[in-house]
């Protein structure tokens, strides 16, 4: 396509200060200005009065992190503002801005993740023990939504394989299933803008789950995850369409057969089990050859989509010999 752009726009290193400046400067400058003034007074709480968006951060806490060789370089980060106000989290509404407004209802403390199925150790982890299981790494990943838009997010977490090793799956465990939080009393009417049978279910083949890029994620931009981004713990699978990266996980099941997955239940011809980012296989309703980068002006958004979202070197081996047109 004509206005496709190479994805790797060189940019200087990410520092929290720069990110914060981008957050304040770029857009919605009036609101930003109110927040800056208030922060200058040293009062985050005051800021949240002037700037409802500051509330998103008010509820998160800082995380200690280490750097990671698995981070993606050469990408300009999407602003925190956009990462937290352009979300698909259908339990909290179907419009992109809904989760930012509604997800505060999600009770993230206490939180535990139950491990079930074909494992030697069917443990239950509370969120603190998960946070302490391994050092938390800073990893920038590209995030490509099946709806043909994309972000670049500085996630925090460690490889999912580290947790899996702790649970000691049996050899009969061929797939991993993730189940997201759902409570009729909490999400209520928001979750009924679709006919999805909650809870949200996603899954991976065991070898996919063991790939080091697959990340158990607790935070972004230096802080714990805002609720709308899947607090307090989610998976992030940067070579797959975003909906594979289940949010707010409460159960991880090790199973023998391919688990059912929510969007595949809704429309098997549109959302395959694998759903690897693949510019050569179009979605029935739009082309996947290009994508819109979030946060850029409309005339600069379009860029070409890369096979496996640019992570082919790390993951292509998983699909050797498979027809990716059939196994989309």
């Amino acid at each position: 396509m004509l206005i496709g752009k190479p994805p790797d726009i060189p940019s200087s290193e990410f520092t929290p200060k720069r990110a914060y400046e981008a957050f304040i400067n770029r857009r919605r400058f009036l609101r930003g200005a109110a927040a800056t003034g208030a922060v200058a007074l040293g009062a985050d709480r005051i800021a949240s009065v002037f700037d409802p968006h500051a509330r998103v951060l008010a509820d998160t806490t800082k995380l200690q992190t280490v750097s990671s060789p698995l981070t993606t370089t050469g990408e300009q980060l999407t602003s925190l503002e956009d990462i937290t106000h352009y979300n698909n989290y259908y339990e909290f509404g179907v419009n992109k801005g809904d989760p930012a407004k509604n997800a505060h209802a999600l009770p993230t403390l206490p939180w535990s993740v139950k491990i079930e199925g074909k494992v030697a150790k069917p443990l239950t982890f509370d969120i603190d023990s998960l946070l302490k299981l391994r050092p938390l790494e800073d990893r920038v990943y590209r995030h490509r939504c099946v709806e043909a838009w994309s972000l670049v997010v500085p996630w925090i977490g460690y490889s999912l394989s580290e947790l899996i090793k702790e649970c000691q799956p049996l050899s009969s465990a061929k797939f991993v299933q993730f189940l997201s939080y759902y409570n009729r009393g909490v999400e209520g009417a928001w979750a009924y803008q679709t006919d999805i049978a909650w809870p949200y279910s996603e899954g991976l083949r065991m070898d996919e789950a063991m790939n080091p890029l697959a990340m158990l994620t607790f935070g972004l931009y230096g802080q714990t995850l805002p609720n709308q981004d899947g607090a307090p713990v989610r998976v992030v699978l940067p070579w797959k369409y975003g909906f594979k990266s289940a949010k707010s996980i409460v159960k991880i099941r090790f199973v023998e057969k391919m688990p059912h997955t929510t969007w595949n239940d809704e429309a098997p011809n549109e959302y395959g089990f694998y759903s690897n980012v693949n510019p050569n296989v179009d979605h029935p309703r739009w082309s996947q050859k290009t994508e819109r980068r979030i946060g850029l002006p409309f005339y600069e958004q379009r860029r070409t989509t890369l096979m496996f979202n640019g992570y082919g070197d790390q993951v292509a081996y998983l699909y050797k010999g498979m027809d990716l047109r059939k196994n989309f």
Partner: protein, 205 residues
């Protein structure tokens, strides 16, 4: 109705119809069209078109229901033309922002994607209606033929609703409101006609 009142109402209608455009222009200039401006522009123009089509369709039933409102007819052409205007903008976003003006890409989109096919049908059917919206065209065609041609707006509305349903993810129910409104508008015509007939009979008896 007084000339002055009519003029004021027309001005207000113009302003109301221009608001979505002004909002988009303001957003474009201040770089404040939300995280995904392409999406914002497409959705705003698409939704505005659909609303204007519904308003255009609502005028006749409203006039029948409340004969006092028969002056509403003076606004129908304006609403219809604005619907066409926003539909054109909506189409242009698809041409420019989705397909980068590439004819091959557009052709592939129309053939492959039924939601685009439905949208295109809705749009193409609006073209002859906009083209024959002048007084001159009405006179030239004669009221009856003109009326028959302009019944196409119903087909446009149905295609637009189909376009909407096929455009959202399966299982997403957001188009339900507009579908209900269109259904109501469709039912209103025969219902009102029936009522009128009964009244006429009551008078003659």
């Amino acid at each position: 109705m007084h000339r002055r009142t009519l003029l004021t109402l027309k001005t207000l209608t113009w302003l109301a119809c221009l608001t979505p455009l002004l909002w988009l222009l303001w957003g474009a200039f201040t770089n404040d069209l939300g995280p995904d401006p392409t999406h914002t522009i497409t959705f705003a123009t698409g939704r505005t078109t659909l609303r204007l089509i519904m308003l255009t369709l609502a005028i006749t039933p409203l006039r029948r229901l409340w004969p006092k409102l028969s002056w509403l007819i003076k606004f129908r052409r304006l609403l219809g033309l604005f619907a066409f205007f926003y539909a054109s903008l909506h189409m242009l976003t698809w041409v420019a922002l989705y397909n980068g003006f590439s004819p091959a890409s557009m052709a592939a989109d129309i053939v492959k994607r039924r939601f685009v096919t439905a949208g295109m049908t809705a749009y193409l059917l609006l073209v002859p209606l906009a083209a024959t919206s002048t007084n001159w065209a009405i006179r030239k065609m004669g009221g009856k033929r003109w009326n028959r041609l302009h019944k196409l707006i119903y087909v446009t509305a149905v295609c637009a609703i189909i376009h909407y349903w096929w455009g959202v993810k399966p299982g997403v129910l957001t188009p339900i409101g507009m579908t209900a409104i269109l259904t109501l508008l469709f039912l209103a015509r025969p219902a009102l006609a029936w009522k009128q007939k009964r009244k006429a009979r009551a008078v003659t008896v």
